[in-house]
Amino acid sequence: MDFYRLGISEISARLEKREISSREVTASVFSRIGSVEDRIRSFVTLTGDQAMDMAEKADREIASGKRNTLSGIPVAVKDNMCTKGIPTTCSSKMLQGFIPPYESTVTSKLLEQGYVLTGKTNLDEFAMGSSTENSGFFTTRNPWDTGRIPGGSSGGSAAAVAADECIAALGSDTGGSIRQPAALCGVVGMKPTYGRISRYGLVAFASSLDQIGPITKNVRDCAVLLNVISGRDPLDSTSAPVAVPDFTARIGKDIKGLKIGIPKEYFIAGMDPEVEKAVRDAILQYASLGAIPVDVSLPHSGYAVATYYVLATSEASSNLARYDGVKYGFRAEGKDLIDMYMQSRAQGFGAEVKRRIMLGTYTLSSGYYDAYYRKAQQVRTLIKGDFENAFKTVDVILTPTTPTAAFRMGEKTADPLQMYLADIFTISVNLAGVPGISIPCGFTSGNLPIGLQLIGKHFDEETLLQAAYAYEESTDWHRRKPNL
C-alpha cells in the first residue's frame, strides 16, 4: 500500500493499532524515493540502512507498548543539522566528508521520540539562497514542475514532503527558508518563534535569525512535530525558558471572532495577480469562518530586505570563519599554510556564500559598522515594533508567503537581487523573531502551488496553528498531490 502518501497522524494511528509496521511504512517511503528521487533530487544523503534499523527498533518499541510520538515515522532532515555518524554537508563542498561526532538537539529529540531518518536533504549552500540552485552539489526540482525550483533554502525538505519521499521533514528558516519552499511546493512549513527551538547542532548561517521548524503535509502534523522539537535547551543560551504547550490542543477549535490583520505593505505592485487573488480569496474564506479581517500597517516593511542582508551577512561572515580546511571537510593544496587556507576557502565555498562573506565582512568593518550594522540593528528594532503595534489590535497577520509561484530554474540566478526579493514577505518575521507559518491556499493556472503566510505573536504558535488548521480543514488544497 502507498503508506508514503500519509501524514504523521494517520500513520501513528495505524501503528498504534498495529495494522501496519514501521518497516512497511519505511519500505514504502524508500520505494517511493526509488521511483521519484532521480527526478526530484531532494536528498544529499539517503540513510536507507539506518532507516530500516530504526524502523525495526521502533516496531519493537511499539510491540512492547512503548510507542513514542514519532515511533516509526520516516522523517527527512535538512543537511545543516548535525547527525552523529551521518554526513552533514550544508550542501557545501567545504563540508564534504564531514561526519559530526555529536547530535543536534532537535535530532536528539526526534531520536528520543523514535523517528526513522530517511536522509539528509539538499539546501542552498549553508542555507544561503531561495531555490537550492546555490547547493554545492545539485539543484532540487519542484515536484509540481521539475523544470522549476522548489524554493529554498530548505528546498530539499519541502520537495521531499511534497513528493512523498518522507512523512515529514525538518527545515531551517533564516529569512523564509522554510515558508518559501513550503509555499512553492504546496506543503505546510512553520518558522517558530526565535528561541522556541534549540539551535544546538544547527550549522549557523545567521545566529540571531536562524530557527528550525517543521515541514509537513498538513497543519496537525506540524503541531505534532513542533511538540517534539520545542523547548529550552541548556546547550543553547538563546533558547527561551518558556513553557511548551501542547500545540495540537487548539487544533479544530473554531476561529470565530479571531482578528486577522491584513498589512497593506504586503500587497505590492509586481506581485503575481494569481497569487494575490488566491490570498484575497483566502481572506474571504477566513471571514466566512467567522474571523474578522482588519487592515493593519507594518510601515517599515520596505526596509526589511536591506536590513536582513546587512545583519545576516554580518553574522555569516563571522560564523563561516571557522571553515579553513584544517580540522574537517574540504582541504585544498596550497604552497604554504596561508595559501592552503585561502585555496580551501576559495574552492570550498560557492559564489553566493563568498558574496555574503564579503558583504558581511564589509558591513562590520571599522568605519562602516555604524552606517550598516548598527543602523540595521536600529531598523530591526523598528520592524519588531511594527509587529508589536499591529498585534495590539489583531491576533494573527495574514500575507502571501511569496510574491510569485515557483520560478523556472536559472530564471533568477544571474541577478542575486531578484533572488533576494523572493523572500520579501518572509524576512520581516525573522527580524522580529515572531512565528510564521505557510499553508497551501491555491494553485496558479499552471498548476503551481500558492502559499499564504500567517504570522503570530511571540510564542503564540498555538493561535497560528489553530487559525491555519481552520482554513486547511475548510479547503482541500493540501490534499492535492503532484503528478509524479
Binding site: M81, C82, P100, V203, S237, Y341, T361, S365
Partner: protein, 475 residues
C-alpha cells in the same frame, strides 16, 4: 627637556575556574595537547557557547574588589581575526558592554599614595597555543587552553613611572590571589601584562603617541620593559623623530622592545555582539551576595595590622601582600606570639628559607603555633635570640617543636650567674694584655671577651648577663 611618561596597563588574568568559560572541559594546566577539548571549544560546526556562571562570579568579585561599577546588563562580542590557534576564527570577548567599569585601586610608591583608575574589566576566552619548538620543523596547535576564561583588566593611563607600573601589577596580583580568582603566575602566563606607553613634556596636558608593549612575561620585566620603552621614545623625540603608534614586542634576552606591527597593519577586529549569547543580566541581589562573600582585601588588612598590632606600615605591607602570609602571621599572634617579633621572624628567616626553596608558606613544615612557642622560649630566657636562629632552622627543616629541639640539643641558655661568672673569671685571668688595653680605653675589646665567653659556653651564655658581668669585672 623634562619628560613625563604616561602608562596604562592591560592585564590578562586567567580565572581559576575548574571548567572552561563556554563548555565543560577542564582548565587543568599541563595536560597532553588537545586532550582537554570538545566540539564546543574547538568550534565544530553547529555548536554553541554557554556561559560558565563561575567565570561571571569571578569577574564580578574582581570588579567589586577594585571598586568597579558592575553592569546590570553586559554582553559578549565577537572579536574576529584569523589565526591557527583560534579555531572559530573569532574570540568571544566583551566590547561595548563590559561586566565592570570605572574602578580604581591604590598603590603606595616612595611613601606616596597613588590612585590608579581601572577603565574596565571584561571576560573573554583564551586562545590555543601554537608550538613551534622541538617539533621537527613543523608547527603544532594545542587547543587545551582554548576557552579558558580570562579577565582583561584595563587601567586608565594614570601610571607615571615604571616603578608605579610594577607596584600596580603587584597590587593587582595580590588582589586576584586574595580573591582566589587567579593564581597570579606571570611565568606560566596565568597573569599577562601589556603596557601602553607614551611620553610628553612635563606639564603638557595632551598625551604623546603611544606604543603598546607586549610579551612582558615576568614580574621583573614589567619595570625593565617600560623603562626601556620610555627611554627609547625620549631618544626618538630628542633626535628629532616622532613616536609612531604601533605594537612592540619586549625581547627579554636583548632587553629591548622591537616593532611588531604598525597602526596601519593593525587588525580590524570587526567586533559585533555575539548573537549566540544572550545579554548577561546581574541584579543587585546577586552583586550584594558576592560582595558579602569577599575576603578582607590587602589594603584593609594592612590598615588593620597597623592599627591592631602596632606594626610599622612597611611590615604590614609585606605581611599582607599575600593572603596566606597574612593569615599565617595572624595565626601566630593568636597562638600567643608578640606581633612585632612574629613579623620579624616571618619577614626575615622564614621568607628567606621559603624563597630559597621556592616553597609557599602554606606547605612549609613549621606552623604558626610553633613560631609562637619558640618566641615564648626567647621571652622566658630559655634560649637566646642567637640560639633561636639555629632552633628555627631546625624547626623549618623538620617541623618539630622548639622546646623539643632545645631539650634534645642541650641549647638551654645559661642564666646561672655563678656559672657565667666562673667563665668570665677564667677568661680575664688568661688575658691580662687584653684586660689592660680595655681598661686603658680600648672598649672595642669587649667583643673579644664576649666571643671568648660564648665560645666557652657554646653560645649558650645569656648575652645580657654576660655583658653585665664582663663590664662589672673589667671596670
Amino acid at each position: 627637556m623634562n619628560w613625563e611618561p604616561v602608562i596604562g596597563l592591560e592585564v590578562h588574568a586567567q580565572m581559576l575556574t575548574d571548567t572552561k568559560i563556554f563548555c565543560g572541559c577542564s582548565t587543568l594546566f599541563g595536560s597532553k595537547p588537545n586532550t582537554q577539548t570538545c566540539q564546543i571549544c574547538i568550534g565544530m560546526p553547529g555548536v554553541l557557547p554557554v556561559l560558565n556562571r563561575k567565570a561571571l562570579e569571578f569577574a564580578v568579585r574582581t570588579g567589586l574588589a577594585t571598586n568597579c561599577t558592575i553592569a546590570k546588563q553586559s554582553r559578549f562580542a565577537r572579536k574576529n581575526y584569523f589565526y591557527p590557534d583560534l579555531p572559530k576564527g573569532y574570540q568571544i570577548s566583551q566590547y561595548e558592554q563590559p561586566i565592570c567599569e570605572h574602578g580604581h585601586l591604590e598603590i603606595v610608591v616612595d611613601g606616596e599614595v597613588r590612585r590608579i583608575g581601572i577603565t574596565r574589566i571584561h571576560m573573554e576566552e583564551d586562545a590555543g597555543k601554537n608550538i613551534h619548538e622541538g617539533t621537527g620543523g613543523f608547527s603544532y596547535v594545542d587547543l587545551n587552553r582554548t576557552g579558558v576564561p580570562l579577565m582583561e583588566i584595563v587601567s586608565e593611563p594614570d601610571i607615571r613611572s615604571p616603578k608605579e607600573a610594577a607596584e600596580y601589577m603587584r597590587k593587582l596580583r595580590s588582589i586576584v590571589r586574595y580573591l582566589g580568582v587567579c593564581d597570579g603566575n606571570l611565568e606560566q602566563g596565568s597573569l599577562r601584562c601589556d603596557a601602553n606607553v607614551s611620553v610628553r613634556p612635563a606639564g603638557q596636558k595632551e598625551f604623546g603617541t603611544r606604543a603598546e608593549v607586549k610579551n612582558i612575561n615576568s614580574f621583573r620585566y614589567v619595570e625593565k620593559a617600560i623603562e626601556y620603552e620610555i627611554k627609547r621614545q625620549i631618544r626618538v623625540i630628542e633626535d628629532g623623530g616622532r613616536v609612531v603608534q604601533e605594537t612592540r614586542l619586549w625581547d627579554a634576552n636583548k632587553g629591548i622592545t622591537e616593532s611588531m606591527r604598525s597602526k596601519e597593519e593593525a587588525h580590524d577586529y570587526r567586533y559585533f555582539p555575539d548573537p549566540d549569547l544572550v545579554p548577561i543580566m546581574v541584579d543587585q541581589k546577586q552583586i550584594e551576595k558576592i560582595r558579602a562573600a569577599l575576603p578582607e582585601l590587602p589594603d584593609a588588612k594592612r590598615h588593620r595590622f597597623v592599627k591592631a598590632f602596632g606594626l610599622p606600615e612597611n611590615d604590614a605591607d609585606m605581611l599582607t601582600a599575600e593572603r596566606s602570609t597574612a593569615e599565617w602571621f595572624e595565626a601566630a599572634v593568636r597562638a600567643g606570639a608578640q606581633a612585632k617579633a612574629a613579623a620579624n621572624w616571618i619577614m626575615g628567616d622564614l621568607m628567606k628559607l621559603l624563597n630559597e626553596e621556592n616553597r609557599s608558606i602554606d606547605d612549609c613544615f613549621i606552623k604558626p603555633l610553633q613560631l609562637a612557642g619558640m618566641l615564648q622560649l626567647i621571652d622566658k630566657g630559655t634560649i637566646s635570640g642567637k640560639i633561636a636562629k639555629s632552633v628555627f632552622d631546625e624547626m623549618y627543616k623538620t617541623g618539630r617543636d622548639a622546646d623539643a629541639i632545645v631539650r634534645e640539643k642541650g641549647l638551654v641558655q645559661i642564666s646561672d650567674t655563678s656559672e657565667i661568672e666562673q667563665v668570665v673569671d677564667e677568661i680575664i685571668a688568661r688575658s691580662p694584655k687584653e684586660v689592660e688595653r680595655f681598661r686603658a680605653g680600648d672598649e672595642k675589646l669587649l667583643g673579644f671577651f664576649v666571643g671568648q665567653a660564648m665560645k666557652a659556653t657554646k653560645g649558650k651564655a645569656n648575652p645580657q648577663m654576660l655583658n653585665d658581668l664582663l663590664k662589672k669585672k673589667l671596670s
